[in-house]
Symmetry: C2
Subunit: 366 residues, 2 copies
């Protein structure tokens, strides 16, 4: 695609719901969680490379993961690994990337991708991103990809879209105006959203011109705007790191949705049926992976012997012989230092298990 499209990969998360495979020291995005031979981060890079050249792909991550990013992405330029000194959610993170990129190229188009999601339909995905890029080139618009819901999921935020708007009036009916963002709903509400066909899942994939998002920060998130504007003399200079180290921690702790998307009046969505999963939980991984004839998902297939076992997901460090009989709807994760055998339906309780450990132990296994 055209030369001023930059992709920002957000890679600061710790993937705690994927414990014990995902750990603070090596979170989900750095793991070959699908058993394909590539980490989620590497798969995200491959997707970014469809839109941006290697030098136009940036990764925003935590200081702690800088070396992991470099190890997983041999083609990344060292100066394109940006580190957040603090975990202040997506608002400050995206504001930093936007101002820095604006300093470099005021006409830049930005694509923002989470580093730890799954996209099964790569062609559809590419087409939808291109649609969004074409749209934002010609409009002062903030676009979020909207995922076609396939079930009444209560774990995602929803996007309510309208049938008309500049997208349609411009002849581009693939881009629709956003009426409102909805917090994670209860099951009845989620079911109503699904039935109405007027709602999409909010996947945290954004497309806009850099100057448009900066205008958005100015109008709706002045604290972020003021803070990162201060850095303009330093971005892309040797003083950038010192500025960020000194000032980033002063930013409010706020999501991009709350800081900007829910307030702005120029938000659009591109509905996308792209086989997306945020892989937020073991059950969501089970949902998207190939299953055996008993509906078991085996992340590594070798050396697993199951009998009377159904609807389970099994993931191991290595090739250990694994013999299981009689389990239904279980998560089995066998790591060098942790063995987890837990009902799939109760996986939200796994976090609590860690909290219940003595503090020293909890830190050891996080």
């Amino acid at each position: 695609m055209a030369s001023n499209i930059y992709t920002i990969i957000m890679a600061g998360g710790i993937g705690s719901r994927f414990w014990p495979q995902s750990r603070v020291a090596k979170p989900k995005q750095f793991i070959d969680i699908l058993g394909t031979g590539s980490s989620l981060m590497q798969m995200t890079w491959e997707r970014a490379a469809r839109f941006s050249t290697d030098d136009q792909i940036m990764v925003l991550t935590n200081n702690q993961y800088k070396d992991l990013v470099a190890a997983h992405l041999p083609a990344i330029q060292p100066q394109n690994i940006l580190t957040e000194p603090a975990r202040n959610n997506t608002g400050p993170c995206i504001a930093y990337a936007a101002f820095r990129l604006y300093q470099q190229d005021p006409e830049a188009v930005m694509i923002i991708l989470p580093s730890d999601h799954l996209i099964l339909k790569e062609e559809g995905y590419t087409e939808k991103i291109r649609t969004a890029v074409d749209f934002v080139r010609n409009h002062d618009a903030l676009v979020t990809l909207g995922i076609q819901p396939t079930r009444p999921d209560t774990g995602y935020g929803y996007i309510q879209f309208g049938a008309d708007g500049p997208g349609r009036s411009s002849g581009n009916e693939k881009v629709l105006p956003v009426i409102s963002f909805k917090e994670k709903p209860d099951l009845a509400t989620a079911q109503a959203y699904l039935t109405s066909k007027a709602y999409l899942w909010n996947a945290g994939i954004f497309i806009w011109k850099t100057k448009d998002v900066i205008k958005g920060f100015k109008n709706y998130a002045p604290a972020l705007y003021d803070l990162f504007l201060e850095g303009m003399p330093y971005y892309n200079t040797p003083e950038e790191t010192a500025f960020i180290e000194t000032n980033y921690g002063r930013s409010p702790h706020i999501s991009i949705d709350y800081a900007l998307m829910e307030k702005a009046d120029n938000v659009f969505t591109v509905p996308a049926d792209i086989g997306w999963s945020d892989l937020g939980t073991w059950a969501s991984l089970w949902d998207v992976k190939e299953k055996d004839d008993k509906q078991n998902v085996l992340i590594q297939k070798e050396n697993i012997h199951l009998s009377n076992t159904e609807n389970c997901i099994i993931s191991r460090d290595g090739q250990k012989l694994t013999v299981v009989d009689g389990l239904k709807d279980y998560i089995i994760v066998d790591q060098e230092d942790v063995l987890l055998i837990y009902p799939k339906g109760k996986e939200q309780e796994i976090k609590q298990v860690i909290k219940n450990l003595e503090q020293d132990d909890a830190n050891r296994y996080l």
Copy 2:
């Protein structure tokens, strides 16, 4: 006790029903399967040392385990580790030990102990063995310890005993004549045995004078008698090993019960309530071990977090954090190269799992 009491520890078994903790390369008797800090072999040695001096304790094992025996028993004399070149069951093994011991001390009393059993009531055990030793000193008798049944177990052979006999007539009512040996019964028969109070479990613990058992072989097992009599010039000389290596494989493959005990007319038993288990299976280990308030047996207690989990037995290589929810009546064995999650009630199927592996794999994990 007196100086001519020799203890022979039988340690050639491979403990296959305790897989995957017990392996061919390191069977059950060499494992701290109870989590006490001692292997079953070491605990058996401690019991043998109540009757015999260190130089009077011998271990009969497979060639393959010679080094393991030496490592587990620092006090054993090297010439007292006797190796069988072939696994031909207990008949030849005991005949070899008897002839060799007869060459050394024709008046010797022999105690034969399996190396991989559990005895919880050590004092009662010592008393019963002493009763048997006192009895065989004064009688040409083959004595087997008879375990008081506590349940209608279908996994053991049974001993039918009579109320009268030389034991009683000699004033020693603790020694009773054996009427017959019974193969492993079905459940109804086992229940009838239990109710009748006229049956005991056959534990494979034998006491006799060496010369009496040799006479028994002469009368009832002439093939064993002839074979091991041939070796008389070589036992306890540098030529013993060559004789055994050359000839042992010619012996019939036969148990001591079938070769001798079921045929002889001078067999007695000492009923013993000694907290015995052959630890033949994971369920039998569960039976005898201390349980938590949900009836779980944790072989190592550290770092295990259970919820909604009952009647399970959990054994691990190390101190790995183990998190389990919702399992009832399961065996969980986590080894470096094998993870087993299997219903306790189906453990007899575990052997089949190994057989179902491809041959190369089966050999790797046996």
